[in-house]
């Protein structure tokens, strides 16, 4: 059963902060992950944002598409989460896109992407096993 985030009428699953798999080692932690600070001046803002994941081409579709993610989570961390969820081979790459146009840097925080490119209260991200939009 997927965990449901309490503030979202049960539609967005909570993405675990830690490794999805019990065998994940420290080495898998994303580079330069920086969680946001309390006193960033945005005290009313939620610490988490809603993400909708969409598959591109023949990439497997995730059974759970809607996730609630910590703002400070990086694109790399999200990419690893999706790869593990889809049980991709270590050799298989995963590309993440915003606006169906650009691939954000792996160390980019999802919270920042949400601020600039979120709509209807969520950030839509497309993922693909091959380069979809160059």
């Amino acid at each position: 059963m997927t965990k449901l985030h309490s503030s979202n009428a049960g539609t967005f699953a909570k993405m675990s902060d830690n490794a999805d798999s019990p065998t994940e080692s420290q080495k898998d932690d994303p580079p330069t992950q920086q969680p946001p600070t309390e006193d960033s001046g945005l005290v009313d803002e939620k610490k988490k944002i809603d993400v909708l994941l969409k598959a591109v081409g023949d990439t497997p579709i995730m059974k759970t598409k809607k996730w609630t993610v910590e703002r400070g989570r990086t694109v790399h961390s999200l990419s690893q989460f999706i790869s593990r969820f889809l049980k991709l081979e270590p050799s298989e790459q995963l590309f993440i896109y915003v606006n169906q146009s650009f691939a954000p840097s792996p160390d980019q925080e999802v919270g920042v992407l949400f601020e600039s490119f979120g709509s209807d209260g969520k950030l839509v991200l497309h993922y693909c096993k091959s380069q979809a939009w160059g």
Binding site: F102, V112, E115
Partner: protein, 264 residues
Amino acid sequence: MADDKDVLRDVWFGRIPTCFTLYQDEVTEREAEPFYLLLPRVSYLTLVTDKVKKHFLRIMKQEDVEEMWFEYEGLPLKWHYPIGVLFDLHASNTALPWSVTVHFKTFPERDLLHCPTNSVIEAHFMSGIKEADALKHKGQVINDMQKKDHKQLWMGLQNDKFDQFWAMNRKLMEYPTEEGGFRYIPFRIYQAMSDRPFIQRLFRPVSADGVAHTLGDLLKEMCPSAIPQDDLRSLRKRASSTVLRKTKGALALTIIQDKSKTVR
């Protein structure tokens, strides 16, 4: 804006004199001499340091060489940040030349992205251009450009060709006159003492009343602590200098703040 050719040229041709020194623990066959290079502010470390690699590889065995990476005073330098941002953020208050240490071992996986080929740099660069255009024009201008136009942008940067670059970039810097500006201004504010990589939020070039926003307006809204204020009571001094760089259709602001300790 594209009429300020002098400003554009000054930004493009900005250089940082740098001294590259091999890390002392690297294994060499002979004494390593430092290597001096003028680094373009608008480019990326891994794109402009082939000569540095060649220089040090001459005195090293192949088995002692892995992916090259750079460090300044113990801090790994992120190649995917523009060189000018790296310098302004970490070394702007120090004497020139900028002293950078070169490593060929123990790549810091947690701090740096790998950069095996130039196509990785190109992909990163183009993604930045697309992200900026998504903010400026909803991506319409970059999407209407052909693949060869995108290539020209990249080649212009790679080969340090101002005219080649701006022939394409000027399209990305245009906006309908009736709008008064882009949809949103693509900016990132980097701060020397911060736990976040940078500040990036939506910001319109014109206020609701139709008045053009200034840099000061942007800072006031996004980073109010960057604006110097004298606080005589606590004897706390803040010196802040803002280095403005307008390049590739996006604004990278590096804010250097120096807060001395409060005397009680």
